[in-house]
């Protein structure tokens, strides 16, 4: 603790405040943004992104990139949708979605730690495989239908007056935050990501931590997929593909706040909200659809530039 350095405060909360200002800006100036339904929709929309991005952040915590999360989610959604379609009980379909995530997450972990393939390459390969399998299962079309409320309610229902989607997001956030901040496994994951060799010498099973990080990225993709399918009552082989860049942007933008330079749970979730607010607000202000992509790209590049300078500054103090 000790004295408070204003520059450190800006480093920590600068982009978070900017995000907050952006939300306020849309609340005041974007037509209909502040309406109850719109806000609920933005929050629901944020849930999918936040859950997927949290998985990406957990893999990033052990210093591995998981570029397969979106395609794994698409495959999981398709498998899940196919099971609902074939009238399996919802619980089985949900288990299948999570199972796909866990299996492919473990596959990534195996490739990275046993075959020693860099995660960038390994997960790109997994993404291609997942994409191919998703198209194979659906034969290119989507599963659509009148699905049982027992399944769709997982995403569309409300509990205690709160949308279930928002509760899923809160649960995923709480789980990830508790894991990273408060458990030994989390501490070992952080140490592995920060200094692999130092962690190994301190007796941490670093390869296992990497496998856990990648497995969780897969599991979170599975959860997100199940919710996505439930919310839309359909499952298509490319349904989560667009989420990859958004998830990366959320994690990177999140790394500019609260704990600058480090992947962090609070930052990831808040950044996911900011990104969704931005997308929604731009649409309501009448901006053409392609503006979103340009802004997204600028945020990705800008965030990394910011984190890199924060990291350099820290290294400079040595």
């Amino acid at each position: 603790m000790g004295r408070i350095d204003p520059r450190e405060l800006i480093g920590r909360y600068g982009t978070a405040l900017a995000g907050l200002s952006l939300i306020l800006f849309f609340l005041i100036f974007a037509p209909n943004f502040a309406s109850g339904t719109n806000i609920i929709n933005v929050l629901k929309d944020t849930s999918f992104l936040a859950i997927l991005a949290l998985g990406f952040a957990l893999a990033f915590t052990v210093a591995e990139l998981d570029l397969s999360v979106a395609e794994v989610a698409s495959l999981a959604a398709v498998v899940c949708g196919w099971m609902v379609h074939a009238q399996y009980p919802p619980a089985v379909a949900v288990a299948a979605a999570l199972g796909v995530g866990i299996v492919l997450g473990s596959f990534n972990g195996f490739g990275v730690t046993v075959l020693r393939i860099p995660s960038l390459i390994m997960t790109l390969g997994t993404a291609a495989i997942a994409k191919g399998l998703a198209f194979m299962i659906t034969q290119g079309v989507a599963f659509v239908g009148r699905w049982p409320v027992g399944f769709t309610g997982l995403a569309r229902g409300y509990s205690f007056g709160i949308p279930n989607l928002v509760l899923w997001m809160a649960g995923a956030t709480l789980f990830a935050w508790g894991l990273v901040k408060w458990t030994r496994t989390g501490a070992h994951m952080v140490a592995t990501g920060e200094a692999d060799e130092a962690a190994r010498l301190a007796g941490i099973a670093t390869a296992r931590m990497k496998r856990i990080g990648l497995l969780l990225a897969g599991l979170f993709a599975g959860i997100m997929a199940m919710l996505l399918a439930a919310n839309l009552s359909s499952a298509a082989p490319n349904m989560a593909g667009d989420y990859l860049l958004y998830a990366i942007a959320a994690v990177l933008l999140g790394m500019t706040m609260f704990e600058p330079g480090k992947p962090n749970i609070q930052g990831t979730v808040f950044a996911a909200l900011v990104l969704k607010v931005l997308g929604n607000g731009l649409v309501l202000l009448g901006a053409p659809y392609y503006v979103q992509d340009i802004v997204l790209g600028a945020i990705i590049i800008g965030s990394v530039a910011f984190s890199a300078s924060a990291m350099k500054k820290a290294a400079f103090k040595v």
Binding site: A202, G203, K317
Partner: protein, 254 residues
């Protein structure tokens, strides 16, 4: 002042990396509470020898006895659990993590929470105990949440040593602890080592700095080309004498 039974005893230790023979047939006894300086030119095999002792590398030949029992450490962690801690040349700290996180890396303290079978990190206690270790070493650092990258070189050594204390290591091996440090910082590290000694711990110190060796060591071991060729009490050896012995050994080995 040394106990007659060795704490650590090496016999016929050899270490090869493929065709490169780094250590040849070294016998070495380390007695409780002594500070042994391991000297020798670059490439003499000092680091390789301590890697074998610390479980970082497997010996190609020979045996190691710890407290009279044969041991073969499979990993540095294995060695730590047996009371042998090594402080590596590059310190093996995570720069962006806090002092407390570094001291307790791999051996975090936990406490129970409301839910059965669930234990969460006991951050308060880890901070308090890190503080205790560092004050024990008289290192003037107060904020245990500070990232290690914001500490001076000497303070970082203190953090690395605190981790060894955390494991309650009986034998602490240090590979060139003052190599990258300025004069003032080096003095701090020498004090740290004196503290360890007065605390009854055994220290194996690799050093190129003959003044450090003369200031601290009870015994001097000199290696050259993988062999041990001097092993004697420091006695009244001066820095120049040791430097001469190292050079003479090189001449013989060449």
């Amino acid at each position: 002042m040394t106990d007659p039974t060795p704490l650590l005893s090496l016999r016929g230790i050899g270490k090869s990396y493929g065709p490169v023979v780094a250590v040849r047939d070294v016998d070495l006894d380390i007695f409780p509470g002594e500070v042994v300086a391991l000297c020798g030119d670059n490439g003499a095999g000092k680091s390789s020898l301590i890697k074998v002792i610390s479980g970082a590398e497997e010996a190609t030949s020979g045996t190691i006895n710890l407290r009279g029992k044969p041991v073969a450490f499979a990993s540095p962690h294995d060695a730590l659990e047996n009371g042998v801690a090594t402080i590596y040349q590059d310190l093996a700290l995570a720069p962006r993590l806090s002092i407390a996180q570094n001291v307790f890396m791999g051996s975090e303290l936990t406490r129970p929470v409301l839910v059965p079978f669930l234990r969460i990190l006991d951050k308060k206690r880890m901070i308090a105990e890190s503080q205790r270790y560092l004050s024990q070493l008289s290192a003037a650092v107060t904020d245990m949440t500070r990232p290690v990258e914001r500490l001076s070189g000497g303070q970082r050594q203190a953090v690395a040593i605190s981790r060894a204390l955390r494991w309650n290591a009986e034998i602490i091996i240090m590979d060139e602890p003052t190599a990258a440090l300025g004069v003032k910082e080096s003095a701090l590290v020498l004090d740290l080592i004196r503290k360890l000694k007065s605390d009854g711990r055994t220290v194996i110190l690799i050093s190129h700095n003959m003044r450090d060796v003369v200031a601290l060591a009870d015994r001097v071991v000199i290696m050259g080309a993988g062999r041990k060729y001097v092993d004697r009490p420091l006695g009244d050896l001066g820095a120049d004498d040791i430097a001469h012995m190292i050079m003479a050994g090189n001449a013989k080995a060449a």
